[in-house]
């Protein structure tokens, strides 16, 4: 059985990593282990269980800042924020439902390391956009800090943002400082039904290019739309646009957005409560939950290109799909246990990036999970990895074979 080390604090983490480096051991970093099945299959000698590094250490609502130890549950942070009518504006998604695990178990460190963002990504930004500061242990076993606790800071390289989305391959984060924002008082969703993918893309583009301040835009073809109970409109594709803010403003913008979208198709709407439920389902990829044997891909691309890419993969591989981020985010579920990597990468043709989010260990071992890089970027990625972790102690091979 694999060696498990459970450090109590940052000094323990530094000692454990330094020791692993000295003994040429490779470590798998885990918080609460909710995303262990994402990424390339890797061989490690030991597990560094960071789950004891938990708890909010600073929260000043009027300064819009919150610091927490890396393995603090997101749910705990969201509860504290909610008491002050604030939120994590990047709306971190929860992979629990998609991976058939208990929902709501993830940690803040995991959310940041995996770069999780939800539907509000297009308006508020990604997880990394809220990273103000970090304390972490490099693969050398050295504790370093970067950034700070203030919103505006250009002192030194932006390592906190870099660590977001690095999947624990550069450093083990021990303390994270995030910018938080007020939670919108009200929200509503405008629905357009029956649109083709291309027409829906145009509708979302028109909405995003208006002054309605749309905070989320998704298009679900009929099959996935039928699997979101809040929609209650079986048999139709649904295009959904969310508005958030103070009540007067939401009401005004809703009217304006409806005027803009009327020429596209039949309109409907969701009130605040149904909106929240709908966007949570969309965020957590509820339409593809459950069937864990079927690979799920996540594609980030130029919004206007998405319908063509989806059609390509659907034709060649029989995938089901839906669009978030006004088209820029494409979720695809494959019809069998085959990843169909060739079909996905051929259709995307380098115009963005595709990540295999759900697949068996065997499938992940035979596919490139992350978008392959050109030689220049691959080389600089290796050098960057080595600048933090020269001996490849931390999650080696989780993203790329050499990183």
């Amino acid at each position: 059985m694999q060696d498990i080390t459970k450090p109590r604090d940052a000094n323990d983490v530094a000692e454990a990593i330094a020791s692993a480096a000295a003994n040429e051991k490779r470590m798998e970093l885990i918080g609460r282990g909710t995303k262990r099945e994402i990424g390339r299959s890797t061989q490690t000698d030991a597990t560094l269980d960071l789950s004891s590094l938990s708890g909010i250490t600073l929260y000043e609502p009027e300064e819009l800042v919150l610091s927490a130890r890396a393995a603090t549950p997101i749910a705990e942070i969201e509860r504290a924020l909610e008491e002050n009518k604030q939120e994590l504006a990047f709306e971190p998604m929860d992979y629990g439902p998609l991976l058939n695990k208990t929902p709501g178990e993830g940690t803040v460190g995991g959310a940041v390391a995996a770069g999780l963002s939800g539907p509000r990504r297009i308006k508020a930004g990604a997880a990394r956009d809220f990273m103000l500061g970090v304390s972490a242990v490099s693969g050398r076993g050295e504790i370093f800090k970067a950034g700070g606790r203030v919103v505006k800071n250009v002192t030194g390289y932006d390592l906190p943002r870099l660590l977001a989305g690095s999947w624990g391959t550069l450093a083990a984060m021990t303390d994270i400082t995030l910018k938080v924002l007020p939670r919108a008082e009200d929200c509503a969703t405008v629905l357009v039904s029956g649109l083709s993918d291309i027409r829906a893309n145009e509708a979302m583009s028109a909405a995003m290019g208006s002054s309605c301040e749309v905070s989320a835009a998704a298009h679900l073809p009929q099959w996935p739309a039928d699997r979101i109970p809040e929609l209650n409109a079986p048999g139709k594709a649904i295009t959904a646009l969310r508005l958030e803010g103070i009540a007067q403003s939401v009401a005004y913008r809703k009217q304006k957005l409806e005027e803009l979208l009327r020429p596209f198709g039949e309109l409907g709407s969701l009130d605040a409560n149904r909106s929240r439920a709908f966007w949570k389902s969309t965020r957590d990829v509820a339409p593809f939950a459950g069937r864990t044997e079927r690979p799920v891909w996540k594609i980030s691309t130029t919004p206007a290109l998405a319908p063509g890419i989806a059609a390509g993969i659907s034709t060649s591989a029989g995938a089901r799909y839906y669009f978030d981020w006004a088209g820029g985010l494409l979720w695809l579920e494959m019809p069998s246990d085959k990843t169909q990597e060739g079909a996905v990468r051929t259709a995307l043709a380098g115009r963005g990036h595709a990540t295999l989010i759900r697949a068996s260990a065997a499938a992940r071992a035979s596919a490139e999970v992350f978008e392959p890089l050109d030689p220049v970027r691959a080389a600089i990625s290796r050098r960057l990895k080595a600048s933090f972790d020269p001996q490849g102690v931390l999650n080696p091979g989780r993203i790329y074979a050499e990183a």
Binding site: A16, S117, V150, L162, H353, S381, A403
Partner: protein, 496 residues
């Protein structure tokens, strides 16, 4: 004064050869080698520092930039990139033994893509030029540093520029989608594009704000936004800066994120009013400009909430803009604050620390003590919403020792910012100016990790050396890992 690296004689001796090689790459007037013609490049916005470069080169294509860097890499010649030269921290200060690489000829907007709300521009396009390219259709580029008429998008990327609206709309790093960049080796690489997030490591996060130390950006893709329907401003005077600070905290505590929220202290108010007659009250200690934008219904509702909070915090004057003209007038004084201070003092030194907002009264009172200690006046303008403080230290460079006193005063302020939990620079960059203060914020391990990242991009340390980092080490030394052999593994950790 901060010292720059000693020029390398072996490079200076080869100057003729280097100039000739650069002329091979960039023909005609694109290479400038005589002192008179190089004079405009000797300094940037931090004018206390001046140095003629060895040679200036002004390429026009990415291929030329690639060849220049490839040549300099092979020959071991240092390179300093320069955008519009508006840096306030000396980021584009030339080196006597270095090539100054000016991106001024990269001045075209390459693509406007309304469907995907993106603009692709060359780095020499000005910040305002980006907005101008799309404003006909009601769009704009959100970051708006006060130098936006002159400063370039490439420079904004290098410095991660902010502006008065970044509390709500973010900094450069939140608004850039992709870059094309040339590495010191001459390799051309693209990070990002019109899609969101990165494949693998997020290099954009590193490059934005890297102060020209990691690569030379040759193309930038930014996101554009639709202009808000309306914008209105409030002008609020307070009897104390504490009351004004309290008001800022309460506005944010009430869940309101204004488009802009700026504070000025009495000396800044008086200087600005004398310069532009913005109608500022002169008998208050602190003035707050709060701008709210969005639909009319939202603006008027929030206007009422903010007014009520301001009155509650003891505001003594309160005016709401009733027209676009009046709103712009409220801003005119704030936007002209730097030149206004320039009128009342032969020279001024602009600082750029950020503090947790709650520490403002403490920092201002300490600043008054420093002001007495150094015998120099200070005026403060403050991006109040995000805690970014711009003290303007008034001095006269022609008076013996005043520049040094101004610098010492400034350093004391920045150390104080760090002490209260803030940082050395909010938006102007470290550059030359704050380089030697880096150890007040970072220990050697922190700095070493940053230097190792630098080495991953520039293993010979040729790109903009002497900036940001107080000590230069060879990358080979930085890469070594000292392992304490024989140490037992995890001696006192719980095991399972």
């Amino acid at each position: 004064m901060v010292a720059m690296p000693t020029p390398d004689n072996s490079v200076l001796e080869r100057r003729e050869k280097i100039v000739a090689a650069l002329r091979e790459i960039v023909p005609g007037e694109g290479v400038i080698a005589n002192d008179v013609a190089m004079r405009p490049y000797e300094s940037d916005g931090l004018t206390a520092y001046r140095q003629l470069p060895m040679v200036v080169v002004l390429p026009e294509t990415t291929a030329q930039v690639s060849k220049i860097l490839h040549y300099c890499y092979a020959e071991g010649v240092k390179v300093v990139p320069r955008g519009a030269g508006t840096s306030l921290s000396g980021g584009a200060l030339p080196l006597a033994d270095g090539v100054l690489l000016g991106l001024g000829k990269f001045n075209k907007v390459l693509e406007i893509d309304y469907a995907n709300r993106a603009v692709v521009a060359q780095p020499g396009v000005t910040n305002l030029g980006t907005t101008k390219a799309v404003e006909g259709k009601g769009f704009y580029y959100a970051p708006d540093p006060s130098s936006q008429i002159a400063c370039s998008i490439g420079g904004n990327v290098a410095e991660n520029s902010g502006g008065v609206h970044c509390l709500k709309y973010g900094l450069t790093t939140h608004n850039v989608l992709g870059v094309e960049m040339v590495l010191m080796t001459g390799e051309v690489v693209r990070f990002g594009g019109k899609h969101l997030d990165a494949e693998g490591y997020d290099f954009l996060s590193l490059i934005i704000g890297s102060e020209g130390l990691l690569g030379v950006v040759t193309e930038v893709t930014v996101r554009i936004l639709k202009k808000p329907e309306t914008a209105r401003a409030l002008l609020v005077g307070f009897p104390t800066s504490e009351a004004a600070g309290d008001c800022v905290a309460k506005i944010i505590g009430a869940g309101i994120i204004p488009g802009g929220m700026e504070m000025m202290d009495k000396p800044a108010i008086h200087a600005a009013e004398a310069f532009v007659n913005a109608g500022y009250p002169l008998d208050v200690e602190a003035l707050l400009i709060v701008e709210l934008d969005g639909p009319e219904a939202e603006c008027s509702h929030l206007m009422e909430s903010v007014s009520a909070i301001a009155k509650d915090c003891g505001a003594v004057t309160l005016r709401v803009s009733n027209s676009e003209e009046e709103r712009l007038k409220f801003w005119a004084g704030r936007k002209a604050a730097f030149p206004a201070v320039g009128r009342i003092s032969p020279d001024y030194y602009c600082m750029d620390g950020t503090i947790p907002r709650a520490k403002l009264p403490l920092v201002l009172s300490k600043m008054r003590e420093f002001s007495e200690k150094y015998g120099l006046q200070v005026a403060n303008v403050f991006h109040a919403g995000d805690g970014n403080l711009h003290p303007l230290i008034l001095y006269d460079a022609n008076k013996e020792g005043e520049l040094q006193r101004a610098e010492d005063f400034g350093n004391d302020i920045l150390r104080l910012c760090v002490e209260v939990g803030g940082v050395l620079t909010g938006e102007h960059g470290v550059g030359v100016e704050k380089r030697d203060l880096m150890p007040t914020m970072f220990n050697q391990t922190d700095l070493d990790q940053q230097l190792r990242v630098k080495c991953a991009f520039d293993d010979k340390g040729l790109l903009n050396p002497g900036k940001v980092f107080p000590q230069l080490h060879r990358c080979a030394e930085m890469g070594r890992m000292h392992v304490h052999a024989g140490k037992t593994a995890f001696p006192d950790l719980p095991r399972f």
